[in-house]
């Protein structure tokens, strides 16, 4: 029925979002790109020009270390969150509608809650006089509070807590669409539950897994609030470095170069990932 409309009329629909994207996404990105090649003035000003100095500076030991740390944190956060999220999503997809709804609400409530509130709430649990330490000391298991806060542990706790809904939802949505008759067919043909999981269930959750991994990895890599709130001096990440270049050091060109480097790095990672999973991924996407 849409044939009767002229395609040209549909193009009109693209103007408002296109204009928005151009003004608030493309233009700023180009500005950042231009700045990253520009010269820095002494008092925080920027002089147009072309230099690769800022990019060279990234490769210096200290900054490279922060870069690698961010990658490591993002990688491990993704892995740990996945190990928690997959069982939840798997359980949900086979649960009754009632149980499904309850779990979904439990996942969505923190999702809708203000991020800072959630981080403060987490502090009251892992903090020095938080619930965990109070409990362990109250029961006499330890007599000194455990160092659970302002260190790597609390940063990971924050990241995992923050990422969990982003991973559960896409995995759940692909598992939930899995036709149960495929699982029954596999069992019927003599496969054990484990074989069925590995050959049927897991391959069909690949599209959801890819989405979940990207949703967790990319924002974690660039996050600066959680290391700021939950971390100590050893948990400085690339996001913190970029923020400090713009806010404190007033070195906008270097901050821009760091931003571009991070975008580039994440894009390499995502494109490798998508290419690597393309065969089974696109298949499953087609058939789900």
């Amino acid at each position: 029925m849409f044939r009767s409309f002229k395609m040209r009329e549909f193009h009109l629909l693209l103007f408002p979002p296109g204009f928005w994207l151009l003004l608030f996404f493309v233009v700023p990105l180009v500005i950042v790109l231009v700045y990253s090649f520009a010269f820095k003035e002494t008092y925080g000003g920027v002089t147009p020009g072309f230099t690769l100095e800022h990019y060279r500076a990234i490769a210096e030991g200290m900054y490279l270390k922060i870069f690698l740390r961010s990658f490591g944190y993002a990688f491990l956060t993704t892995l740990f969150t996945l190990l928690l999220a997959f069982p939840i999503a798997y359980y949900m997809s086979f649960a009754s509608l009632r149980v499904k709804t309850i779990i979904m609400v439990m996942i969505m409530i923190p999702f809708w809650t203000n991020f800072l509130v959630r981080m403060y709430a987490l502090m009251t649990i892992v903090g020095e006089s938080g619930l965990i330490n109070q409990f362990l000391m109250g029961t006499g298991i330890i007599d000194q509070p455990l160092p659970l806060f302002n260190n790597t542990f609390s940063v990971f706790a924050g990241f995992i807590y923050w990422n969990l809904p982003f991973m559960v939802l896409p995995i759940f949505s692909s598992l939930d669409r899995l036709d149960t008759s495929l699982i029954e067919a596999s069992l019927d043909l003599g496969a054990s539950k484990m074989q069925t999981f590995l050959r049927v269930t897991l391959p069909y959750s690949v599209p959801g897994l890819i989405a979940a991994i990207i949703f967790a990895f990319v924002p974690t890599m660039g996050n600066f609030i959680i290391p700021e709130f939950m971390g100590g001096t050893d948990n400085y990440m690339i996001g913190n470095l970029i923020t400090s270049q713009f806010v404190q050091a007033r070195n906008w060109p270097f901050g821009s170069a760091l931003s571009m480097a991070m975008i580039f790095f994440v894009m390499i990672f995502i494109s490798l990932y998508l290419r690597f999973y393309k065969p089974s991924g696109s298949q499953s996407l087609q058939n789900i």
């Binding site: 596999s186 019927d188 058939n287």
Partner: protein
């Protein structure tokens, strides 16, 4: 071979299958037929192991399989939606069962080859399920189940997803295939034509109970319950009371419509309330009074429908009941007997026709 003994399934207060007893012989083509929600699919799923029986026993070749998981039963299922693995090609789909049983590679290749030819899928081994027509997918599903040489093959509405022409063609192939492989087939359908055409025996189900289990001919010719009489084919049903039974000849007084005689009938005792059932194609319209070996009732033609091979008449008895009569058009042409709406006629039929069903 497959014995089902007082099988029962309920979800809470909802009794889906009630006290079902069945004995299915080796090599039999057995059909569970009934309207949707009658419990036929639940029985199939209990045999496959996807549903747990609430009570009762399922025995396969003398062994109790009631509580075995699906992968430990020598039973395979062909699913209604075929449930082909979309990320495997045809050959991989078919080989799945053998692979799971760690069959040697060469043997898998040989057996896949054989089954592919049997199912008429040669040359399609590399296709993905999404690239195939419904009929082809149906064959893959069948081949994937048959390659494991199960003792029983369960088919859940195997032809319902196909369009009519292909379903009719596939029906013939399915019957032929079953004869060739000699595996016991149990199939579930709501399509009575399919059931009558394919099955050696049919169990007709309604509300979780088996109403009648018999050969297609007996089901059609001698329905035992009102439900079966009504469910299978077209049937005229009239309330009546047996007035006398002598030497296999029963006289039935139809309420307000007159008397009919049934020879070859010794089931009901005199005085019983019965439902007199007769198929529309067993009756004919005539201007002549019934002959000595016939029953006849006066009626008025109310409507007539020409449908090509036959003409369907609706006629009204003097008591007001409507009766359907189906006449072969070629016979009508031979005798030049066409009746118009409003015409007064006799409906006549042989005293050997008709059935009595207890009410």
């Amino acid at each position: 071979m497959l014995d089902i003994i007082s099988l029962h399934k309920s979800y809470g207060q909802n009794h889906v299958v009630r006290d079902v007893n069945l004995q299915i012989a080796k090599g039999e083509f057995f059909c569970l037929l009934g309207p949707s929600g009658c419990g036929k699919t639940t029985i199939l799923r209990m045999i496959a192991g996807f549903e747990k029986a609430t009570s009762g026993t399922i025995m396969l070749d003398g062994a109790d399989i009631t509580h075995l998981p699906p992968n430990k039963r020598d039973v395979n299922t062909m699913f209604q939606n075929y449930a082909l693995f979309p990320n495997f090609n045809v050959a991989e789909n078919i080989a799945y069962g053998l692979k799971m049983k760690k069959t040697p590679r060469q043997e898998i290749a040989d057996r896949v080859d054989k089954v592919v030819r049997l199912a008429g899928l040669s040359g399609l081994e590399e296709r993905m399920p999404a690239q195939m027509s419904g009929g082809q997918q149906q064959r893959v599903a069948l081949a994937r189940a048959l390659i494991n040489e199960p003792r029983v093959l369960l088919l859940d509405e195997p032809l319902s997803a196909l369009d009519k022409k292909i379903a009719e063609q596939t029906r013939i192939e399915l019957a032929e295939l079953q004869r060739q492989v000699g595996i016991t087939f149990i199939f579930v359908t709501h399509n009575q034509t399919e059931a009558l055409a394919l099955a050696d025996r049919i169990a007709i189900m309604n509300n979780g109970v088996i109403e009648q289990c018999d050969t297609p001919r007996n089901i059609y010719e001698h329905p035992r319950t009102r439900f079966v009489a009504d469910f299978i084919g077209n049937m005229n049903m009239l309330q009546g009371r047996v007035t006398s039974v002598a030497q296999g000849v029963a006289t039935v007084d139809l309420e307000g419509a007159g008397q009919v005689i049934l020879s070859q009938c010794d089931k009901p005792a005199a005085g019983t309330s019965v439902l007199f059932c007769i198929r529309p194609e067993r009756m004919k319209l005539s201007l002549l009074e019934p002959k000595g070996y016939e029953n006849g009732l006066r009626a008025t033609v109310k409507s007539k429908l020409y449908v090509g091979d036959t003409t369907h008449y609706q006629v009204q008895l003097q008591c007001g009941a409507m009766i359907k009569v189906i006449e072969q058009n070629y016979l009508l042409q031979l005798s030049n007997e066409f009746y118009d709406i409003g015409e007064e006629v006799f409906i006549n039929w042989s005293q050997t026709s008709g059935e009595l069903v207890h009410v």
